[in-house]
């Protein structure tokens, strides 16, 4: 399945794009492109067409590559932030850690018992995306970048889900998509409020609890 392999490689490249850039718009564009590829994957992976597969593809494309990026763009426009200025580790180191994550993911997934008939890149890429999502989530200080990291994490989990599209009911997947949508919606509101309260989007200021 060369098409599916190509899409999976592009998913990893989108991860690196998020890790290597300081511009929030590029981050959001990367996550939107990743969403587009994730939307195309069920179709590229499937052997036999069904309403379930098409619904999944259309649903995730719309939510992951249109609605959520639009929402994040609105958030950075209202908060007037452009760049991730002080990540706790540098962008070059992030890239190096990212490739280490890919190496670990590829190494580990060789030892996992996997269902037959899926692309052998699917699980390694899913693991790598989850780890790199964690990396983004933990090392960036802007709330918007952290939301992008959370989305990467979720995209990795979605890729895991694709190993068993035949067995997972449609409703569960729609439920997951809805969950993510609501989570990002709430985060968007939180981002807006952090900005209004502290005049900056840095989550480093959120160190103490008060009434």
């Amino acid at each position: 399945m060369p098409a599916a392999d190509l899409l999976l490689v592009l998913v990893v490249l989108a991860d690196f794009m998020v890790l290597g850039t300081s511009r929030l718009t590029t981050c959001i564009r990367a996550i939107a492109l990743q969403g587009l590829m994730l939307g195309a994957l069920p179709i590229a992976l499937t052997q036999h067409w069904s309403l379930h597969i098409v619904g999944l593809a259309v649903g995730s494309t719309v939510v992951k590559s249109l609605v959520l990026p639009w929402f994040l763009r609105r958030a950075i426009r209202e908060a007037a932030v452009r760049r991730e200025v002080e990540p706790s580790i540098g962008f070059t180191l992030s890239l190096v850690l990212g490739i280490a994550a890919v190496a670990i993911a590829f190494g580990v997934s060789q030892r996992l018992p996997l269902p037959a008939g899926v692309s052998e890149l699917l699980v390694p890429v899913a693991l790598a995306t989850v780890i790199m999502g964690f990396l983004t989530l933990t090392t960036r200080s802007k709330a918007v970048t952290q939301v992008v990291g959370y989305l990467m994490l979720e995209n990795g989990i979605y890729l895991f889900g694709l190993t068993s599209t035949d067995r997972v009911p449609f409703l569960v997947e729609i439920g997951v998509l809805l969950d993510v949508f609501v989570a990002v919606f709430i985060m968007g509101i939180v981002v807006f409020h952090i900005n209004r309260e502290f005049d900056s989007l840095s989550s480093i200021r959120l160190t103490e609890l008060r009434d």
């Binding site: 060369p2 392999d5 190509l6 490689v9 990893v12 490249l13 690196f16 290597g20 962008f91 070059t92 890239l95 190096v96 990212g98 490739i99 890919v102 190496a103 590829f106 997934s109 060789q110 052998e120 890149l121 390694p124």
Partner: protein
């Protein structure tokens, strides 16, 4: 092992090499709406410089005079190691890719020493930057070679860039599993080429401000035939690295001999055009971002290697 059949291709590359920077500049001029210098400008420059006399500062030593020659020898030596006609290199042996990278490194080393030899602080700064970028470009180049080795199982450049390793053959003829890895290496090697030949996102060949020049500032004190030597060697280096990119991208073993030369020359011209396009759509990177750019190239090669290993 010496293959004398590779000599015509080698001569062809040595003759057309000065054309490539001209094509890159012409592309850039067209895209930015200017007329630009003629494509053959570098030949004219080389002819003009060759008729002049070299001038040497009193502070310089023999190193300064040796560097242009060393650069010329290493660049042409690197060209001898590549299978330029798509079949075999003039000189091929196990592990010759290390010799290839080392030759390029020795040439750069000689030039850096010559820059420091002049005692000018500008040239020292340029030399320092050039050496810094080289340390980041080399891992990317080697990781690309490692990936090519993993795909082809062959330790010589002729084997790596020869049978069945081409991206197009991998894509068309069944063995599509190596295609994503080869695509990644091609991009990575192109980024290395931009850095090694001092092109735009890393260095700007058109700049004439001492503080921002990198390659240009090192050769600031060279003149006459010495400068001609350096300019020609840089063009050969561009052709050699371009040949590497073309070798990864296009398989030529299956093609008949006359067509091979045509495809190869066309590929080199396309690489030059790509450089021109990059130069006109991109601004130069901030100095502190260049290592990140080259680490990204290394990451692409590593990802390619991992993709091959996971099978």
């Amino acid at each position: 092992m010496i293959a004398w059949t590779a000599i015509p291709a080698l001569l062809l590359v040595l003759v057309v090499a000065p054309l490539l920077p001209g094509i890159a500049t012409k592309t850039k001029s067209w895209l930015t709406g200017r007329r630009g210098p003629p494509v053959l400008q570098l030949y004219f420059d080389l002819g003009k410089l060759w008729r002049k006399r070299s001038t040497y500062s009193r502070t310089t030593t023999w190193m300064f005079r040796l560097a242009p020659l060393a650069l010329l020898v290493t660049s042409v030596g690197a060209a001898c190691l590549l299978p330029l006609d798509g079949r075999s290199a003039l000189l091929g042996f196990r592990g010759d890719f290390i010799a290839f990278a080392s030759l390029l490194a020795v040439g750069r080393f000689a030039l850096v020493l010559a820059g420091l030899d002049t005692g000018s602080s500008f040239e020292g700064m340029g030399a320092s930057r050039d050496a810094t970028f080289a340390t980041f470009a080399e891992p990317a180049l080697f990781l690309g070679f490692v990936t090519l080795f993993l795909i082809s199982g062959n330790l010589s450049l002729t084997g790596m860039l020869g049978v069945g390793a081409g991206l197009l053959s991998a894509w068309i003829g069944g063995g599509g599993h190596a295609a994503p890895a080869l695509a990644l290496i091609t991009i990575s090697l192109f980024l290395v080429l931009l850095a090694e030949t001092s092109r735009v996102p890393v260095d700007d060949p058109a700049t004439h401000l001492e503080l921002t020049m990198i390659h240009e500032v090192i050769v600031l004190d060279h003149s006459g035939p010495d400068l001609a030597c350096i300019l020609y060697s840089s063009a050969v280096k561009l052709a050699v690295l371009g040949a590497l990119v073309v070798g990864v991208l296009v398989p030529r073993t299956a093609l008949p001999a006359p067509l091979t030369g045509l495809v190869f020359t066309g590929g080199l011209v396309l690489v030059a055009v790509a450089i021109g396009i990059v130069e006109s759509v991109m601004a130069r990177l901030r100095l502190s971002r260049v290592p990140q750019f080259l680490v990204a190239a290394a990451v692409l090669s590593t990802l390619g290697a991992l993709l091959v290993l996971v099978r």
